[in-house]
Amino acid sequence: MDVQSSTPGVVLKYVVSPNDFTRAGEASSNVKNILKQMGISPDVIRKVSIAMYEGEINMVIHANGGDITVTITPEKIEMVLRDDGPGIPDVEKAMQAGYSTAPEQVRSLGFGAGMGLPNMKNYTDEMKIDTVLGVGTTVTMSVYIS
């Protein structure tokens, strides 16, 4: 992890390793702790934690890992999750609750219920998915602080 506290706000960077379920959640936990120390409200922290963990898990399951950049400003917390995975063929379908292409092994770990993207959308104030087949996916999410 790499913390730069120059303007315009605090920038946190994380690398998400591919296929490593044991480490998935480390980035979100770290962000959660930092936000707590900064005195951000529990409600905002919860939204950021849920959205980011789901995104992190998706990068592990569907996209061979990637990197996450979190920018904290007085107005909002922005999370940019970038991967070089296969891309999402039909974003609208992927956003539907219950839609999942996760393999059985992932389901047996309690994920792959197709609730990730819907959760990310519900718990953030803005969400944008940029995806190119065979190139990768970037999910940008923001949670407003006020």
């Binding site: 959640g25 959660k32 919860r46 849920i50 898990i57 309690g110 959760n119």
Partner: protein
């Protein structure tokens, strides 16, 4: 009710001991982690049969007071160590999910 009280009144064993003086205010059941993460209330006792490393991450992100693994669900030693390191209380019971949650609920109501 504190976690300590729960451990004295219910047939649970302590796999990982965090802060046992922490208050439990609710009880929650679910094994699907995406749902648990978004729906588990803070300070709940979370009853589940899903015993893997993601359970710890979800418990921590949702700010659950403790995890109760029902139906005799076991946790690998490495995961127990991780729970201890993170200060997450994990209890285990041979009772089914519903009976466990009901017992916690009754204690909370009494």
């Amino acid at each position: 009710m504190t976690i300590q009280t729960l451990t004295e009144k219910l047939p649970v064993s302590i796999l990982s001991e965090g802060d046992l003086s922490r208050q439990i205010t609710k009880v929650f059941c679910c094994d699907l982690l995406s749902i648990a993460m978004s729906k588990a209330p803070a300070d709940c006792a979370w009853v589940t049969v899903m015993g893997n490393v993601n359970t710890l991450a979800v418990a921590s992100l949702a700010d659950a007071a403790c995890v109760i693994l029902a139906e005799g669900t076991v946790l690998e030693e490495a995961i127990v160590e991780k729970a201890k390191m993170q200060g997450i209380t994990v209890l285990s019971t041979t009772q089914p999910v519903f009976e466990t949650a009901l017992s916690v609920y009754r204690l909370l109501e009494s």
